[in-house]
């Protein structure tokens, strides 16, 4: 138990050990068994948590690994959703659109990232730019309500969004489309794979250099690494992840709308990551779950000002639990067990520790 918690806290870039893999297997088994006990409505709720967790990871990976704060992950999220919707409705098949929903946001990230990284934007301007891009895309999509805005056979519909986005077909048998429980399994599998992939990335030279950039960009350059290249590649990867999340979101809801690029969503992503803890990969996933269920619950209680409540939660976490829920609870448990948390951030430091779990 102690060892496991220390593993959770460790900033190491060494290969994850047996404990970590056991954790993965247990999580996978639980996710696989849940449909046995949950009704379809609950499964639907859980699926969107898994889908949005991919979006959270796309941000926390960029922030936690390499130290770039991007408010604009929703730009790629929305792009992914719209690309899938428009392509699937035009083509009549869904396999190619699924991959386009990842690929085009990735390209978008490559182009935007190129200008921002090689334009030598400072970190803060980079963050602001990503936010501006999201807002522009939101505005642009809202402005497409006229009947002249069609892509192929599909009207973009402005504020109203595009309903009737086709469900995903089984690639080798287009007759069969994925139902609610299948989408759940797909989302769960994707999330686990992405999670494992991002964790293993840390053990590669590429991943280690990314951490090095977060820790000390100048030193990385003095060792001969072109930091900008790594930043661009990381940004492209995070764009692809956000695109995947958006594509899955469109499949999950059979619907896309400009809100996917909205300021509310962009803010939510930040809240998930901060509440869960950006220094870990599991934190943001937990953050999505908590906030998502809390939002639903508050809605059912008739609380009108959900956004306000979320804002207060954000402030509380920024001020009181700077590291986020997962690292804070982990350290607390370690302390209760009488162990000094390994690799814990010094008080007052910005917790720039490596994400492990």
């Amino acid at each position: 138990m102690i060892k496991f918690l220390q593993k959770l806290q460790s900033p190491s870039s060494e290969s994850p050990g047996a404990v970590w893999w056991a954790f993965i297997v247990i999580a996978a088994v639980i996710l696989a068994l849940l449909p046995q006990t949950l009704g379809l409505a609950q499964l639907l709720d859980l699926s969107v948590v898994l889908v949005l967790a991919l979006l959270a990871l796309s941000m926390s990976f960029l922030w936690g690994y390499i130290g770039i704060l991007s408010f604009g992950q929703t730009a790629f999220f929305g792009a992914g959703g719209y690309v899938y919707a428009v392509a699937a409705m035009n083509f009549g098949t869904t396999t190619l659109p699924f991959f386009l929903g990842i690929l085009l946001p990735m390209l978008l990230a490559a182009v935007l990232g190129y200008f921002m990284v090689y334009g030598k934007l400072s970190d803060i301007y980079f963050s602001v730019m990503t936010l501006v891009i999201t807002l522009i895309m939101n505005k642009a999509m809202r402005a497409t309500s006229g009947s002249q805005y069609v892509v192929g056979d599909v009207r973009l519909n402005g504020q109203n969004g595009i309903p009737g986005v086709p469900p995903l077909q089984v690639p080798w048998n287009p007759e069969i489309t994925l139902f609610i429980d299948h989408v759940y399994y797909l989302a769960a599998a994707l999330l686990i794979l992405v999670y494992i992939g991002l964790r293993l990335l840390l053990t590669t030279p590429f991943g280690r250099v990314m951490i090095g950039i977060r820790e000390n960009e100048q030193r990385i350059e003095l060792l001969g690494y072109d930091a900008r290249r790594y930043k661009l590649l990381a940004f492209i990867l995070s764009g692809a992840l956000a695109g995947l999340s958006g594509t899955m979101f469109a499949i999950w809801g059979n619907f896309v709308a400009p809100e996917m690029f909205g300021l509310d969503r962009a803010a939510e992503v930040i809240i998930w990551v901060i509440v869960g803890g950006k220094a870990t990969l599991i934190g943001p996933i937990v953050g999505v779950g908590i906030i998502q269920y809390l939002t639903t619950w508050l809605g059912m209680q008739g609380v009108g000002q959900v956004t306000l409540v979320l804002g207060v939660i954000l402030i509380v976490f920024v001020l009181a639990f700077k590291e986020g829920l997962v690292p804070t609870l982990g350290n607390l448990l370690l302390r209760l067990l009488g162990v000094r948390p390994g690799g814990q951030a010094e008080p007052g430091s910005d917790n720039e520790k490596g994400p492990d779990v």
């Binding site: 900033p11 280690r208 090095g212 350059e221 003095l222 060792l223 001969g224 720039e352």
Partner: protein
Amino acid sequence: MSDAADMPLIETRRLVKSFGGVHATDTVDFTLKKGELRCLIGPNGAGKSTFFKLLTGQIAPTSGKILFDGDDVTGLSSFEIARRGIGIKNQKPDVFDGLSARENLWLAAQFDTDKKTADQRVEKVVDELKLASFVHKLVGELAHGQRQWVEIGMVIARNPRLILLDEPSAGMDQEERIRTAELLKELNTNTTIVVVEHDMQFIKRIADIVTVFHRGKILREAPVDVVLRDPEVRNVYLGRTEVA
């Protein structure tokens, strides 16, 4: 590129860096042959660190030229210069605080090689510098002297052709200083080195030629004994115990 042994490895021509109106480096013509071990001395603010930063592309010169191994490297970014084979330890500790010492070394070692060779290089440096007792610790939690060793290790792990060390023995005790001096002499058998130092015992131990910086300019360049007896140098250092 010629193989002539006395060909300069690094050379600056009328190198100037001004911050606002202050010439931190002022028309410096500096030449260093392959295989040399040179010490730079000079009072605080003389421009030694600025000079090192210019050589490694951390700052761009206001005017003048830098040649490395015969190639003009003026204005190249620091990663390009590092790739050509210049390694530097800056005056302020410049390490990856949130990573273990081993990971720090590993990042330095793996730059131009595969994972396995990098691992071997790391082990070699850990051995040579006797870092084993704290190599698994976060560098941010190490003592100042240990951090210095890690950073020196990072420079060595890259196998550079030119090593620049800005006050490497600061914060070290006497025994560690002697070890550092011995290490530098050993490294010098196949690497060219420039060291900024204040400790005269240390300098006497390792260098023959010393370059004295003063107000951004080279004031003297001579064998260590000559320099220490030079009245003008003594005047510049007036009140400094190291020279007295």
